[in-house]
């Protein structure tokens, strides 16, 4: 049954006004809100209305031309990318999308930086004299964090405009709304909310003693867990001090006082003994590491995980042989166009093998799909399928394992 235009419910992004404020949120002006409103809807347009043009261009022109020239199908996603990068539609779409990313950074930074004194002062109120924030200046910024500014975020996670400032965190936090068109909810914590929902279903009544969150950035995904498990001790680590200052202040203002934020590199967790944690996790972090760092992080995570404990990593889906090469190519867009240089190699990794090499038994591993949990009255559920905004869809692939769960079960029997 068709509906008249006035009866139709259009798919529009929620307004930036609906984003919840916390103790270190920048105060947006009317026009700053309107800038993010534009970008949120523009990103929806880019993925929804224009996005399908990429596949059409591939099927109708790029692939036939490739077959004619080479006499064979493309061998990998890189060959597809090189061919697509010459296609007028894909070039234009990519240029628009790159501009949208750059505008998001400029818009976020201008909002944050004009009020940076006020934000720094508010962060200091939450941070000064607290033993739940531990900054260690001897921690170096690893090459995989400094080679380029990840997601075209000027200064990356570790940049400071003024000594000791929180602008990196504030800018990162405020603009997630625009790039995901509100898909991560009021506090951009739909991932953390999903973790809470997942674990309550998976292990009703389970209460971990101690949880380690690796690559926590602004703590989006750990605060909901900390609030759900108030008696649990949470350790959240990151190599970047500016993002941790912001994360700590944000968590404190939201009442998550059971998280200690520590500047540390997960490749070396030697300050923690074997079996310290009941849960070790990353959320959308491993693709921001490197070929050698990733297995070291997983191995260290395995070591500090107690028997019966949970290792859990949320990422975008891996490029298995079953995934069509075109899909691998389009999912790779961020790697080369949005400064995610390890993204492509990471998603081609067989994470299960990495976890087995770290010490897990293959039988202990599991995979799962996790969709962002948001207030669907206001915020949209993550689109997957044709409308999916690859790289940003709030629908993740989880790689998990319960350490020595078989042995534990046998011992109990």
């Amino acid at each position: 049954m068709s509906t008249t235009p006035t009866e139709q419910k259009l798919d529009v992004a929620p307004p930036y006004n609906a984003v919840a404020r916390h103790g270190v949120s920048p105060e947006p002006s009317h026009d700053e809100i309107a800038r993010f409103d534009f970008l949120a809807n523009f990103n929806k347009f880019l993925s929804g209305a224009l996005g399908p043009g990429n596949k059409l261009a591939y099927d109708r022109r790029v692939l036939p031309a490739f077959l004619k020239e080479h006499g064979r199908e493309p061998q990998d996603r890189f060959e597809i990318r090189r061919a697509m990068n010459k296609d007028p539609f894909h070039k234009f779409w990519s240029a628009l999308k790159r501009n949208s990313m750059e505008m998001r950074q400029q818009n976020g930074r201008s909002m944050v930086l004009r009020q940076i004194d006020e934000l720094n002062a508010r962060a200091r109120q939450f941070n000064e004299g607290r033993d739940t924030l531990e900054l260690n200046p001897e921690i170096d910024v690893p090459r995989y964090q400094s080679a380029v500014d990840i997601h075209c975020m000027p200064g990356s996670y570790h940049g400071e405009e003024l000594p000791g400032d929180v602008s990196a965190g504030a800018n990162y936090d405020c603009g997630i709304f625009a790039t995901t068109a509100g898909g991560l909810g009021a506090l951009s914590d739909g991932g953390g909310q999903a973790l809470v929902e997942w674990i309550k279903k998976e292990r009703p009544g389970w209460e971990p003693r101690r949880v380690l969150d690796i690559g926590t950035t602004v703590g989006h995904n750990i605060v909901p867990l900390a609030l759900a498990f108030p008696n649990t001790e949470f350790i959240a680590i990151d190599t970047a001090a500016p993002i941790l200052r912001y994360a700590h202040a944000r968590a404190q203002s939201l009442g998550a006082t059971n998280i200690t934020f520590i500047q540390a590199n997960a490749e070396d967790l030697s300050r923690w003994d074997d079996g310290t944690f009941d849960w070790v996790q990353t959320t959308m972090f491993l693709h921001e590491t490197s070929g050698k760092a990733l297995p070291r992080i997983i191995a260290e995570g395995y070591r500090v995980l107690a028997d019966g404990g949970l290792m859990f990593h949320l990422e975008q889906p891996e490029y298995s042989d079953a995934m069509p090469l075109y899909e691998q190519f389009i999912r790779d867009w961020d790697a080369f166009n949005n400064n995610e240089p390890f993204w492509s190699s990471m998603h081609a990794l067989d994470m299960k093998t990495v976890m087995v090499e770290a010490g897990f038994d293959r039988a202990e591993l599991f995979e799962s799909g996790v969709r962002a949990v948001v207030d669907t009255d206001i915020f949209p559920e993550a689109a997957t399928g044709d409308d999916e905004d690859h790289g940003r869809a709030a629908y993740w692939h989880a790689y998990g394992a319960w350490k020595n769960s078989d042995q534990m079960q046998h011992a109990a029997e």
């Binding site: 501009n99 000027p154 003024l162």
Partner: protein, 120 residues
């Protein structure tokens, strides 16, 4: 305190480290599109501000700038404003949107049609 010489407007424009991909044959086109897209965004901002003023005037008769800054749309107004932005985006993005339709249809050149009509 921010130092006297901290120019936040300049700082907001900082370039991200990492070589920018080139999408067009002429590098000037990269710059032109970036300016054009910024203006496209700012026109949307002006429209939203105008909508705020209209709604406030309708409700209150007279307003000041603080009213504009603190305006929060209710659910219906938020939807209407989202629809307004969507309509605006479809209008300005007609060109690239029609590229998708062109790909769907793969039409013959009009010259060809012209030759055909001459004969029928």
């Amino acid at each position: 305190m921010a130092e006297e010489n901290f120019d936040w407007m300049a700082a907001a424009n900082k370039k991200a480290k990492g070589k920018r991909p080139e999408y067009f044959d002429d590098p000037e086109d990269e710059r032109m599109l970036s300016i054009l897209m910024a203006v496209v965004g700012e026109v949307s901002v002006l429209r939203e501000r105008m909508d705020t003023v209209e709604r406030l005037l309708e409700a209150k008769g007279s307003i000041n700038r603080a009213d504009i800054e603190s305006y929060t749309p209710d659910k219906q107004a938020a939807y209407e404003r989202g629809a307004m932005i969507r309509e605006y985006i479809y209008r300005v993005m007609r060109g690239p949107h029609q590229m998708v339709q062109e790909l769907e249809q793969s039409e013959p050149p009009v010259e060809e049609v012209s030759r055909e009509l001459k004969e029928i």
